[in-house]
Symmetry: C2
Subunit: 191 residues, 2 copies
């Protein structure tokens, strides 16, 4: 894995300086004005591969990046949510879908941008789906009809293939990034 | 699960006000002075149950909270780390231990304080362990000698018991919080 430790993210604001706060061992962004420490904690993305009678739910993105491309319902975990609650909320927000989570499918990581993705395997309770504000359209795809070339992100491919490997298994260990692949962002909506 | 959505965390600084930034749907802390948005993202704790020839590595805490009590090597995931790298770093920092990660043991969550814990099952490469700056002492305990009453946090109990259930299994699904338990913080060193 490439050494990314020397990467310094962009300053969160003009008054922030990079220094080691008292009692810490790492350099952080500190506001030179009021002393506020801007911790850049890794971010958690939660999402799911949602099946209904052998078909898979995909959402066509209404927002950048990758507007117009197909993705899985996924997004940033919010405050005070469990990961499962977050994955259910994303399915509801992006596809008005009510899902039941079955298993943790994968833990992908994107260290370059400090992102950890918890992807679940889920099923749709009823086939009523509608595009939410971040989707242009939503649909259920038979496996051989999945628009692979129009997938928004490589990790959509990963999660779909990992789903396929485990769809008939009840117990399995969650997957990680495919060998040698350092991951990619699911979306960029939060700095 | 109790409704924690109405909880508003303490302001990160005197100039921050609570409002919905443009293009967002949730209220955030925004600096009234420079416009910096203080996103409170859930935090990721990474740690491990580390075994060596049937004995388990525990660290006696040199820092509050729960100073003097026994815990697993665990702490906050840092920027640009994968969760596995973070768990290895924590074992190195807290017990000077070189570990090999075998499996994801559990994903616990503490929604009250927006914390997700990724706990791994690992083994020690060599039985040379020494207390790091955050540990008073480190030791390898036979199962029947584990100081249960002096465990720093309930999730130390959870992870040890989940380890015990799976120690002879190669493939298993990671555990979540025990039924009805909403979790607890592993440490409090990062706001």
């Amino acid at each position: 894995m490439s050494n990314t430790r020397s990467y310094v993210p962009p300053s969160p604001g003009p008054r922030f300086v990079r220094r080691v706060p008292e009692g810490d061992t790492n350099e952080r962004y500190v506001c030179d004005d009021c002393g506020h420490i801007h911790y850049i904690n890794p971010k958690i993305v939660v999402g799911s591969v949602v099946a209904f009678e052998g078909r898979i739910l995909l959402c066509r993105r209404a927002i950048e990046p990758r507007k117009g491309f197909w993705t899985l319902p996924a997004g940033f975990l919010e405050e005070h949510e469990t990961p499962e609650e977050g994955a259910r909320r994303e399915a509801r927000e992006e596809a008005c879908a009510t899902i039941t989570i079955e298993a943790l499918l994968a833990v992908y990581s994107v260290p370059r941008i400090s992102q950890v993705q918890l992807m679940y395997r889920a099923c749709l309770e009823k086939p009523e789906i509608f595009p939410g504000p971040e989707s242009l359209e939503v649909d259920l795809f038979a496996w051989h009809k999945i628009p692979w070339d129009e997938a928004a992100f490589p990790s959509v491919h990963w999660a779909l293939n990992h789903y396929w490997e485990t769809k008939d298994k009840r117990v399995f260990a969650p997957f990680v990034n495919p060998e040698g692949q350092s991951g990619n962002a699911f979306s960029m909506k939060r700095p």
